[in-house]
């Protein structure tokens, strides 16, 4: 590997890391604003222009707080739990493609940290299912009943919904014939009949619905936020966390929200493709501008889905635990299986003709 390649890789990693961190900070603000609007309030508007610096003030507050570890807690694991959560939330960004390849000074740059990974989707699932370790470990290491209950709830919940989540994408994999996320996105360019974009959501609506619900459960967000469940479990798995360690959990939660939104945009809404406009002759000549346009398209789709996440959180009450398990095992799982079977039949019929 040449030095220039290493430099490009490092730059890509830094850019992606900052997208994650600043994105998470602004999603927190966005969530507070949207929740305020839904409740006929104004929301934070004192820090900076219309509250635009609120998240940074919050981070500053968290950094300056005392770091408390319960006396009977296992210090090592107590420290490890938030690190696992945040590391996984960041690591998964490696496989998200942000735009088509472009050239600067004769050098082709692919705006993905790990481009053309042929096990992309599998890696993604492997990493995101590790996220449960962070939360369960936090509950276990805190040596507190509430934390433990929260941690165990979330581990049961995430294992149940991971199944449906994985199965919901099997249909799409069969249809696409690849696990490579870059190829999946590239296959979604163009349109049918000239006006319907070739997005996977039109091929796999049921798969998308299952993935959407499972994504809510995976990120531990309302209506599936049983791991935190403020009225029942104080704070759930992060009850015994303060300061920056709590901040890391917080960041990981919002990072996961953005990640899941970006993933849904990538897998079901055509990823970075901007229908029609990106095929203009102007953008064919200026591929750097095209990359920016495509990044903008992905950004808009992701923000729309993040808004949906927040909107749902402030509209729908929390599920009861048995309802959650019922929905996961007796509704979502059979539906996902049916989706796989139907897709498999349709795909094999089409291929045999």
């Amino acid at each position: 590997m040449l030095l220039i390649d290493v430099v490009i890789l490092v730059v890509k990693i830094i850019v992606v890391l900052h997208i994650f961190l600043i994105g998470a900070a602004y999603v927190v603000l966005f969530e507070r604003k949207v929740s305020a609007w839904i409740q006929n309030r104004v929301g934070p508007n004192r820090t900076g222009w219309r509250g635009s610096l609120q998240s940074f003030a919050d981070v500053l507050k968290l950094v300056m707080k005392e770091d408390i570890v319960p006396a009977q807690a296992d210090y090592g694991f107590h420290l490890l739990a938030p690190i696992i959560s945040i590391a996984i939330a960041i690591a998964v960004w490696a496989v998200i493609p942000f735009a088509d390849a472009f050239t600067i000074g004769g050098k082709v740059i692919v705006p993905t940290v790990a481009p053309n990974l042929n096990v992309g989707l599998l890696l993604l699932f492997a990493l995101s299912s590790l996220g449960v370790y962070g939360i369960t470990l936090a509950g276990w290491a805190s040596n507190s009943k509430y934390s433990l209950l929260g941690g165990l709830r979330s581990s049961a919940q995430m294992i149940s919904y991971e199944l449906s989540m994985g199965l919901s994408l099997v249909g799409m994999m069969l249809y696409m014939g690849t696990l490579n996320i870059t190829e999946i996105v590239q296959a979604q360019g163009g349109s049918w009949l000239g006006f319907i974009p070739r997005w996977n959501i039109f091929v796999q609506p049921l798969g998308f619905l299952i993935f959407l619900v499972a994504a809510f459960a995976e990120t531990n967000r309302a209506p599936f936020d049983l791991a935190e469940a403020e009225p029942e479990l104080v704070g759930g798995f992060h009850t015994e966390y303060t300061g920056l360690k709590f901040g890391l959990f917080f960041l990981a939660e919002y990072g996961n929200v953005i990640l899941m939104s970006a993933l849904m945009a990538t897998l079901f809404f055509g990823g970075y493709h901007f229908p029609d406009v990106e095929n203009w002759a102007f953008f064919k000549q200026h591929d750097v501008l095209r990359a920016l346009l495509q990044f903008g398209a992905l950004f808009i789709k992701t923000v729309a889905l993040v808004f949906f996440f927040i909107w749902v959180r402030w509209s729908i009450p929390r599920f009861r635990y048995d309802q959650l398990m019922n929905l996961g095992w007796r509704v979502m799982f059979p539906l996902a299986l049916a989706n796989v079977v139907i897709t498999a039949i349709v795909v094999s019929v089409i291929q045999s003709h």
Binding site: V34, W37, I38, Q39, N40, R41, V42, N45, L209, W311, V312, W314, S315, I316
Partner: protein, 168 residues
């Protein structure tokens, strides 16, 4: 003997579409989306201040007439105050049989805004004002002397009117 289970749950009364969740969730989401564009209820406080009605019991003040304060330093307010917040020291004036408060202090950290001082006052000299913005940086700042308690009668007309109408 086979037992017959009677189910009288919420689920029994729901129709097919309600059991499907999704239309109901869409309805709920529609409601919250509609709320997002409704007018806000928030009063942006420091810019837009709340002006209370005349019946509001803000900080107690002494009524100042052109000739000076109405207070005759009888000490009833100090006596009735349940929080022991008022301290009055009387002195003689040049006129015969008349007194005035040489020192009148209300500890605003002790005051509970009950309005007993106002009720007991025979001269209508101490009344509750509309002022609710009371911030101190030191406990000493919270002891209000005559300099801060005296308010011209013209600013207290609403309250005096209210007292005349309802105080019986």
């Amino acid at each position: 003997m086979a037992t017959k289970t009677v189910r009288t749950g919420e689920a029994e009364r729901l129709s097919f579409w309600e059991k499907l969740y999704i239309p109901e969730i869409a309805k709920g989401l529609g409601l919250t989306l509609k709320q997002m564009f409704q007018p806000k209820f928030t009063r942006e406080y420091p810019e837009e201040k709340y002006i209370p009605a005349a019946s509001y019991r803000g900080r107690p003040v002494l009524v100042q007439e052109d000739y000076g304060e109405r207070c005759v330093a009888c000490g009833l307010c100090s006596r009735v105050c349940p929080a022991i917040a008022i301290e009055v020291q009387a002195a003689e004036t040049e006129k015969e049989k008349e007194r005035y408060p040489v020192k009148f202090e209300i500890n605003m950290l002790r005051c509970i805004f009950c309005g007993y001082c106002e009720e007991v006052c025979p001269e209508e000299a101490i009344v509750m004002s509309r002022d609710y913005e009371l911030v101190f940086e030191h406990p000493e700042d919270a002891i209000f002397g005559k300099d801060r308690l005296l308010v011209p009668v013209s600013q207290l007309q609403d309250r005096l009117e209210f007292l005349r109408q309802y105080k019986g």
